[in-house]
Amino acid sequence: MQFSKVSGKKNQHKVVLYALSTCAWCKMTKQFLKDNDIEYTYVDVDLCEEEDKQKIRQHIQSKGGPLSYPTVIVDDNVLITGFRKDKLKETLGI
């Protein structure tokens, strides 16, 4: 699976974003992380190979999340569904 890395000065958290290439909320999430200088990796699930989609599904569901995008997983521990500025700020200490 090919994750794209977006560099940022704030790299103390491991931030993984599952997104859809067509989704406006996902784009806003990417922009928000970038604007706040957060380092993160993302993958556009709709552009993934079928077997990778399965892996992503298992990853999200293993964290107890619904299959909605954007899904942000911080430090492989906190899962945030949807573009939730408040939760992202709280979790990432912005």
Partner: protein
């Protein structure tokens, strides 16, 4: 084309399109891309399977739009919004997914089926979807879907006004 269709549909149902021009443009581009790659404009904010029979409920305007707008002021992707949201009186929050997990899973199961048991797995799953005939008791509109629409597209009657058509035609006489 995508925009005109959405504008016309919003007018018909008394909704508005998202008031943020950049956000709206982004959604319309997503819809266009889905129409190009799948052959139908499925929701830009949901993972589609690429199989029409699995994605029918999320083709824009999706089956969940009307109840979501009634409850949250916007549909799941926020392409369509209620009047008060359009006028800026209500802040939009992410709309929770109303589509069942079972239906969502089809976008992933299609892939699994393809690898293990080509064609048959997908076919079996498709047969689980059983559309029925429903008619609007108010105006007579008939629809062939899993569930009746939230409101009748013709006379705007509520879902409760729909009844299943259970008559069978016996060809053997």
């Amino acid at each position: 084309m995508v925009r005109q269709r959405a504008e016309a549909d919003a007018r018909t149902y008394g909704y508005y399109l998202n008031p943020d021009p950049a956000f709206l443009q982004s959604l319309l581009e997503g819809l266009k891309k889905n129409e190009e790659r799948y052959g139908y404009p499925s929701c830009p904010c949901r993972l589609a399977s690429g199989k029409f029979e699995f994605d029918r409920d999320i083709i824009c305007p999706c089956d969940y739009r009307d109840p979501d707008i009634a409850e949250f002021g916007a549909c799941y992707c926020a392409l369509y919004v209620r009047k008060d949201v359009h006028e800026g009186g209500t802040e939009l929050e992410p709309v929770p997914e109303r589509r069942s997990l079972e239906k969502q899973s089809r976008a992933y199961n299609v892939a699994a089926g393809k690898e293990e048991k080509p064609a048959t797995a997908a076919k079996e799953e498709a047969s689980e979807i059983k559309p029925k005939l429903w008619y609007c008791k108010q105006c007579g509109y008939v629809v062939f879907r899993d569930e009746p629409p939230y409101t009748c597209p013709i006379c705007k009657a509520k879902k409760e006004m729909f009844a299943e058509i259970k008559k069978r035609i016996n060809f053997t006489g």
